[in-house]
């Protein structure tokens, strides 16, 4: 493959709705927010329930709790042990999964239209009737510890830890979502039960749906299977302080590798910042747009120093990390870093043309429809909209928002975010003088 395809797509941010598929919304009596896009051409339904129960809600020194909770909820229930549960899901080809990020815990379902009833029944059982089996918890915990040990073969594991240390000291975003070798050992089943009891609630949660289903059908099913779910989370999503980065400027983790992983990091915009759209467009020009982006042109296309270089920011409830990442043969690391710095300096000093801006905007706007052309992509988008309280016409207005970004806006954004000296440097790879 000429380039990892997904990377360029994920961080564009939001994509466009087609005029023919409006977003429908309904609030259930228990406060659960339903968002739906109908798509009747494939006999399937995808859904994603998103709740404020991500890794930032892990208790002190117990990082990885939310991720373990997600794994436990989909492993078995009070009515079905893990074997019976696996059999029940497989009998009807029900795909049930769960995941976490810094802010959220989500449970996903993909099911054939005909098995919709059984699918949402299983979904509700996983959500509302957790089994809390002690032996399964122990096995999951041990396997997580082994998995984290195995992950120490990857440079990215150490750069993620370094991001936390440099950008989020003493902040709930500071630890990896999966936890660390030290923190996962501290987690008990009681911690998971507490997190569940406090945060897994319908108020503040969004159930995003897409596929061969109407809102009437959806509301009836949700009422039937999730109607008895009640309550509000103890901690709300908005209750979080802006992180204060550390004074440290750099971190070098030594590993026996052929390549150096170079990451430049700083805080990026939050989901709610006024300049969010401007920054999305600016980042597309910097390193979010794959080929054609400034970093890719200068570091890969002109100099052949890397297979891929990307930039992206993580727009959470408050400011997440803004990351520029590349890997290169270790003896070329400094050369690549000099170019990276020059690209940032050039963009900060105003070397952004109207033509560059127009091209990025055209790509973002033109790619609107295709970037949400599957049910699973659509539910991801709808879940984000519901969770972060984007207006219902968000998709409709998205193109207009991108279109309205001016050269002055991106120049200002570059001054605010791309100053080379404001970035911190992470190196993971062989020992080397800098």
């Amino acid at each position: 493959m000429r380039l990892f395809y997904w990377v360029a797509l994920i961080f564009f941010g939001i994509t466009q709705a087609q005029a023919t598929t409006p977003v429908q919304q309904h609030t259930m009596k228990n406060g659960l927010n339903i968002m739906l896009m109908e798509a009747h051409h494939v006999p399937m339904v995808a859904m994603k329930l998103i709740m404020p129960a991500g890794s930032r809600f892990d208790a002190q020194d117990k990082g990885g709790s939310a991720a373990l909770l997600a794994a436990m909820l989909t492993d078995h229930t009070v009515k079905h042990d893990y074997l019976a549960w696996a059999g029940k899901l497989d009998d009807a080809s029900i795909l049930l999964g769960a995941g976490t990020d810094k802010d959220s815990l989500s449970i996903s379902l993909t099911v054939l239209k005909e098995a919709m009833d059984e699918g949402i029944d299983a979904f509700s059982e996983a959500l509302l009737q957790p089994g809390w089996d002690k032996q399964r918890f122990k096995l999951k915990q041990q396997n997580t510890i082994s998995g984290l040990t195995k992950a120490q073969e990857e440079a990215g594991t150490f750069s993620a830890i370094a991001e936390g240390e440099l950008l989020f000291p003493s902040h709930p975003y500071g630890h990896p979502t999966s936890g660390t070798l030290d923190s996962v050992k501290n987690i008990t089943l009681r911690d998971l039960k507490t997190l569940y009891a406090q945060q897994v609630k319908p108020v503040g949660a969004t159930l995003a749906m897409s596929g061969d289903i109407t809102m009437d059908e959806a509301v009836k099913l949700v009422q039937r299977y999730l109607g008895n779910w009640h309550g509000a989370p103890k901690k709300v999503l908005a209750d979080i302080e802006k992180p204060t980065p550390s004074d440290k400027k750099e971190r070098h983790h030594v590993m026996d590798k052929h390549q150096m992983l170079i990451e430049w990091v700083r805080l990026g915009p939050s989901r709610h910042d006024d300049d969010y759209i401007t920054m999305m467009v600016l980042n597309h020009m910097l390193g979010g747009g794959g080929f054609g982006s400034q970093l890719m042109e200068e570091i890969r296309e002109r100099r052949g120093l890397t297979y891929g270089v990307y930039s992206y920011f993580q727009p959470y409830e408050t400011h997440g990390a803004y990351i520029i990442r590349l890997q290169t043969r270790s003896d070329q690391a400094e050369e690549a870093e000099v170019v990276l710095k020059q690209v940032l300096a050039d963009m900060t000093s105003g070397k952004i043309t109207q033509d560059m801006l127009d091209k990025s905007k055209t790509n973002l706007m033109g790619g609107f429809a295709q970037r949400m052309d599957s049910n699973r992509e659509r539910v991801g988008l709808l879940a984000m909209m519901g969770f972060y309280h984007r207006p219902l016409n968000y998709l409709e207005n998205w193109t207009k928002s991108v279109e309205s970004v001016t050269l002055a806006d991106v120049l200002q954004g570059a001054k605010k975010y791309l100053q080379p000296d404001d970035w911190k440097q992470i190196w993971v790879g062989p020992e080397q003088e800098r």
Partner: protein, 441 residues
């Protein structure tokens, strides 16, 4: 119970109808170019894929990686377009483009607004016919590819072990070589190799154009007739497809590199699907593999991870859609305190048992339903739909066989699954690969 069975039969019935709903429209041009279109008007989007009957298997010794290098060079400029300009034009229309190379094929694809399909097809034909292939671009791109290899293989212990394992598993068959190429070969390749490869393999008779999305077949046909079909016909030699000798006994390879935890894997050469020749056999291997590694009740996971606790993860893989042979694999990722020898013992005990007994009926039926449901779920992605058509066509199975594969899966019997374990998944046919961690700094 009866009610449940009835319901599931209905589900299967409907799925059969749905998976066969999209009709493939095709035309074959005089110079050998094939066009296959699947119209889907649900969104104003289209997927264009250009498939070539050339991949890693077509490289000669000492020149591994060449098919993939060539894929990169397709973005380095043609008579009408500068290096990199192709992707910029696609980007400006709001599209994305990329490419991939496998052992059996190379494909170039674009996701674009459907109004741009004809323009993109013309651009694809232009670069195909008039590639520049300058040494300056090659020198820069080969460096990029070496970085790609360092990232994907040299610095990834699991990948590195699988690369060594594949090389040790096969004596003759070209699947023993990595598609990205051995580093020693990459270092020795020249622009002359690339030019010779272009001349030999990038000929009309090796091309299949696949378009899925909001398009009109007649319109696409007219465009292809004016572009790809206009190219001069050239002869193509039969593809390199040797018969791998049957293994004479178990083999073993150890890879000692910096890593944290061991990984153990087994490979066995098995037949892939040759329609009307080994229909039952290939479908049975696919279903047996699905039972072992698919879904939440995957047998490898249930027995080796959950019950015997000899690994933290286990899986297996079979690709029925190749040119006659697949290197089937299974693996176990062992955790802290888990021993690969115990995994190995438990794995072969399980294979042995499955070769002696008929499979669990419920798991057997669930595996069939999953394979069919997954086909419905993959209809959700234009990329996957086009890719499946392209693969079937390029490896010689034929895209029109697409729906019959599901019929074959439905028809597999429990006895046939048992026999797969007796015939193919046996220790004396296997090569074992072990990743053994060297102390990490």
């Amino acid at each position: 119970m009866w009610m449940k069975k009835l319901l599931l039969l209905c589900v299967l019935g409907l799925m059969a109808a749905q998976t066969q709903a999209a009709e493939l429209k095709r035309v074959s041009f005089d110079n050998g170019v094939q066009l296959i279109v699947e119209e889907d008007h649900s969104a104003p989007v289209a997927m264009v894929q250009i498939w070539l009957k050339v991949g890693g298997r077509d490289e000669v010794p000492g020149k591994t990686g060449l098919a993939h290098v060539f894929e990169h060079m397709m973005f380095k400029g043609s008579k009408k377009l500068e290096a990199g300009e192709y992707s910029k034009i696609i980007s400006a229309m709001g599209g994305n483009d990329n490419a991939f190379t496998s052992t059996d094929y190379t494909a170039y694809f674009e996701t674009i607004p459907s109004a741009e399909v004809n323009r993109v097809l013309s651009m694809e034909a232009e670069r195909f016919a008039h590639l520049k292939l300058r040494d300056k671009d090659f020198q820069s791109e080969i460096k990029v590819i070496m970085e790609e290899r360092r990232m994907r293989t040299e610095d990834d212990p699991n990948s590195r072990m699988f690369e060594e394992l594949s090389a040790a598993s096969l004596r003759l068959h070209p699947y023993r070589n990595p598609v990205i190429g051995w580093m020693q070969d990459l270092e020795a390749l020249t622009i002359e190799d690339v030019r010779a490869f272009y001349k030999q393999h990038y000929v009309p008779a090796n091309v299949t154009v696949v378009v899925v999305g909001d398009v009109d077949f007649k319109q696409v046909k007219r465009t292809v007739a004016k572009t790809f079909a206009k190219m001069k016909a050239r002869k193509v030699a039969p593809r390199f497809n040797p018969t791998e000798p049957e293994p004479l006994g178990a083999k073993r390879v150890e890879v000692v590199i910096p890593a944290q935890l061991p990984l153990i894997a087994f490979t066995m050469p098995v037949p892939s699907w040759v329609p009307h020749h080994n229909d039952k056999q290939a479908a049975a291997i696919a279903l047996a593999t699905e039972m072992l590694a698919g879904g939440k009740s995957a047998i490898l996971n249930q027995v080796l991870v959950n019950e015997k606790r000899v690994a933290i993860a286990a899986g297996a893989g079979y690709d029925p859609f190749t040119m006659g042979l697949d290197l089937w694999y299974a693996y176990g990722s062992t955790g802290i305190g888990q021993d690969t020898a115990k995994f190995e013992q438990a794995f072969w005990a399980l294979m042995d048992k499955m070769g002696k007994e008929l499979p669990n009926e419920r798991k057997f039926e669930a595996a069939k339903r999953r394979m069919i449901a997954n086909t419905v779920f993959s209809q959700d992605s234009l990329y996957l739909r086009a890719k499946h058509i392209g693969i079937l066509e390029t490896v010689g199975i034929g895209a029109d066989e697409k729906d019959r594969w599901l019929d074959l899966i439905r028809a597999v019997t429990p006895e046939q699954v048992r026999d797969v374990f007796k015939t193919w998944f046996i220790q004396s046919r296997a090569t074992t690969g072990l990743l053994l961690p060297k102390a990490v700094k």
